[in-house]
């Protein structure tokens, strides 16, 4: 083994490396742009569904907002509380308090109680049906039952009942807003699960005509408004409207005498009596 070979090789590689070491050090001094490494770390911890329920355009943006402390970890509705705590701990911030919200359907007019004037024929989505004279349901406000919302839900929280009404599983619902956006009849609202009184109807028709088209329509008769605490429920445009700022005063008394059961008291899941057929699993 020749010493000269040792020397040459050490010199060459040492020289090359030193040269680039100097260059990088120089470049580092002159050209560095810094980015908070925590953003990437936080992003890793987030679920990565990019659903936008937190109000930012995606998990990455949410991570940036978290690092800048513009949002609280609990703003992500997809993470369970444990995961929220992990993020909060990593960032050394308060987890924040999230109020569980779920999607509620403002219609109970399943196919057995609401009239269908003419069956819709064609592209099988609610949006498409709604574009053809409203979809052919007698009630122009009611659910078309073609399952756009169930299809849109990324969390498998919505299933159609045997009578074509979407049933939300509140445990799976993350309040991501997708069903709200997709429904052409604007029938979904996200509301805190503590709000238990709900008018399950959007029909602006009053009295007889309303009931002719749907057995469970709100006819605007005003009984609930009279029975409820002062100011909790008002009849506006033929529809009972709940003022949720007075939610504390809500009680089951208000719904008892509703002639059509359009107003209900919900504890947990909506439509607990509806059967959701077993869904087959497709490969």
């Amino acid at each position: 083994m020749s010493a000269s070979a040792l020397l040459v090789s050490a010199l060459i590689l040492g020289g090359v490396c030193t040269f680039f070491g100097v260059s990088i050090a120089l470049a580092n001094r002159k050209l560095r742009v810094w980015e908070d490494p925590r953003i990437a770390e936080v992003e890793e911890l987030l679920p990565g569904t990019n659903c936008g329920a937190c109000g930012t355009p995606g998990c990455r943006a949410f991570a940036e907002a978290l690092v800048k402390e513009e949002h609280q970890p609990s703003g992500c509705t997809v993470m369970g509380p444990d995961d929220v705590d992990v993020v909060a701990e990593y960032l050394g911030v308060d987890a924040g308090e999230a109020q569980k919200r779920v999607a509620r359907l403002l219609c109970a007019g399943s196919s057995d109680v609401a009239v269908q004037l003419a069956p819709y024929q064609g592209h099988h989505t609610c949006q498409a049906a709604a574009a053809v004279t409203g979809g052919g349901k007698g009630c122009a406000w009611g659910c078309l039952g073609l399952a756009d919302c169930a299809e849109a839900c990324d969390f498998d929280a919505i299933h159609m009942s045997a009578n074509d009404l979407p049933v939300v599983n509140p445990d799976l619902c993350t309040a991501c807003n997708d069903c709200v956006v997709v429904c052409p009849k604007d029938l979904f609202v996200l509301m805190p699960i503590e709000q238990k009184i709900l008018v399950q109807c959007k029909s602006l028709l009053e009295g007889e005509p309303a009931q002719e088209l749907c057995e469970v329509a709100c006819t605007g008769c005003g009984i609930c408004a009279a029975d409820a605490a002062e100011g909790l429920i008002a009849i506006t445009d033929g529809l009972a409207v709940v003022d949720y700022s007075k939610n504390e005063s809500a009680s089951e008394d208000a719904i008892r005498r509703c002639p059509t059961n359009a107003i209900v008291w919900i504890d947990g899941a909506q439509f607990p009596e509806l059967q959701v057929p077993e869904r087959s699993f497709a490969v």
């Binding site: 090789s9 060459i12 590689l13 090359v16 680039f20 990088i24 470049a27 050209l31 560095r32 742009v33």
Partner: protein
């Protein structure tokens, strides 16, 4: 000149780096989802390939004659460091260019195509210009493969791809098909 053009064309289609030599597959699989991205990746690739060709030629000619066993390690150190410096420079000097090309640079450093180019170029004893055209051909070939793959994938995204094939399985089958389509060029120039 004809010789140079031949090197360019044959590296681009006949012996396409990606589809015939299996070089640079990681970015080929990873960054071929959108045509725009794929194109930029291709451009960044061409840039680094040309840079690499020049560096390795210089190293071969001026330094490595004395210690051929240091070839691999010096190539890679030089490429990695240069790319790092270029990346920093672009990031600082032109944020828009960085958005378009720079973010791919770190991905490219550890890409077989780059080192593969340096090694093939050395094995084939290309001179400076031959090396340059070799690098251009390889880069254009990569870009072609990337863009074709990306445009097919963009269409496939809206197709009802069966669940089992979704993702990389489909991409690989498309790559296999592309590779078969490129086989038609095999032997180009050899039969004449």
């Amino acid at each position: 000149m004809g010789d140079l053009i031949w090197i360019l064309l044959s590296t681009m289609v006949v012996n396409n780096f990606t589809l015939a030599y299996f070089l640079g597959l990681c970015p080929f699989m990873g960054v071929s989802g959108r045509v725009e991205t794929a194109f930029r990746m291709g451009m960044a690739n061409i840039f680094v390939l040309v840079l690499t060709s020049i560096c390795s030629w210089a190293l071969n000619t001026y330094v490595l004659d004395y210690a051929p066993y240091l070839r691999l390690i010096s190539f890679i150190v030089v490429i990695a460091s240069l790319v790092q410096i270029v990346e920093m420079a672009i990031k600082k000097l032109s944020p828009t260019l960085f958005q378009q090309l720079g973010i791919y640079l770190p991905l490219i450093t550890t890409n077989c195509a780059i080192l593969g180019l340096a090694i093939f170029q050395t094995n084939r004893e290309y001179n400076f210009f031959q090396g340059l055209f070799f690098a251009l051909g390889a880069g254009l070939g990569l870009t072609l493969a990337l863009v074709l793959m990306a445009s097919i994938r963009e269409d496939a995204e809206r197709a009802a791809v069966p669940a089992a094939a979704r993702g990389m399985a489909l991409v690989l089958i498309i790559a296999g098909s592309l590779s078969m389509a490129f086989m038609g060029f095999a032997g180009l120039g050899s039969a004449a």
